[in-house]
């Protein structure tokens, strides 16, 4: 069972109270973008075996979106942080690098 701590209301909840929102930190390509960029934005997703950054919504709680970093193999949760950011917090990246020395980075 995946349990995440919502950074907006501080409560630790299990997966059934949350709604998944897919991969986090996508760069949007909208009107005026090339077809190739738009296709990548729409369809291409990472499917890593290891560290993954995800969007979640605390659907049955405060209703807010937040972001989470977890391992897709062990389901270890490295941390959660508010969605109002364009990149993961530095201390979270440092923590993941410490635990997963071979990790290639979040981009």
């Amino acid at each position: 069972m995946l349990t995440l701590t919502c950074p907006c209301c501080g409560v630790t909840v299990e997966e059934t109270e949350l709604a998944p929102g897919g991969e986090a930190h996508l760069k949007r390509f909208g009107p005026g973008a090339s077809d190739a960029d738009f296709e990548t934005y729409m369809f291409a997703r990472k499917n890593p075996k290891g560290v993954h950054f995800e969007r979640w919504r605390h659907a049955y709680g405060c209703g807010k979106w937040f972001l989470a970093a977890r391992c897709t193999v062990t389901w270890e949760v490295f941390g959660t942080y508010p969605a109002q950011t364009s990149e993961p917090p530095a201390e979270l990246i440092a923590k993941i690098k410490e635990k997963r020395p071979g990790w290639e980075g979040w981009k």
């Binding site: 907006c8 209301c9 501080g10 409560v11 909840v13 059934t16 049955y60 709680g61 405060c62 209703g63």
Partner: protein
């Protein structure tokens, strides 16, 4: 004027805990910047206090204010007072970007009373009830619908949900509270 009635007209079932639809209850939802001084002043004008994250705090005249999300509060009062409370808060905040609505008729409220009241909800909600403190408002789900739960007294829990699912929630609580269904 038509007579206001609650969703289930006070239906009650006695099992190993007593589950009761609490009747007409006043609720006002407020979406605003909770850190703003104006919000605090508007609440104080109605005898209400500003709760911290996930808190439910008592104000004057048996009114309560509950923290629902970083920008949302729920005011609980008597049914008859709710329109005046909503109007009072709205008037006080008319220069701010806020939303104040009397949602009394959109909600249902239940009480679960008894020494084993927790066990009725343990089977329905993914919540650690041992960690649920008095004065904490916990938004969660009851089986398949959204609900909010708090300890409204010694050996009593209150639950609010949408009125449209009141019969469903009553069914859940009644079955969960049947004798023989205790967890310990």
């Amino acid at each position: 004027m038509s007579e206001a009635v609650s969703a289930l007209k006070g239906e009650s079932h006695a099992g190993f805990a007593t589950v009761t639809e609490a009747g007409l209850s006043g609720m006002v939802t407020l979406r605003a910047d909770l850190s703003a001084t104006a919000t605090r002043i508007a609440l104080a004008g109605q005898g209400l206090k500003l709760p911290g994250p996930r808190e439910i705090v008592a104000g004057e005249k048996g009114r309560f204010t509950a923290w629902m999300s970083p920008d949302e509060l729920l005011v609980i009062c008597s049914y008859d007072e709710a329109p005046a409370v909503a109007a009072g808060i709205a008037h006080s905040l008319h220069t701010e970007h806020v939303l104040v609505t009397n949602v009394s008729d959109a909600r249902a409220r239940f009480t679960i009373a008894g020494a084993k009241a927790d066990q009725v909800l343990m089977k329905l909600c993914p919540v650690d009830f041992a960690a649920l403190k008095p004065g904490e408002m916990r938004r969660t789900r009851a089986a398949q619908v959204a609900a909010a739960i708090w300890r409204s007294g010694p050996e009593e829990l209150s639950l609010v949900c949408f009125r449209s699912v009141a019969a469903y929630v009553m069914g859940l609580l009644e079955v969960s509270a049947r004798p023989g269904g205790e967890l310990s």
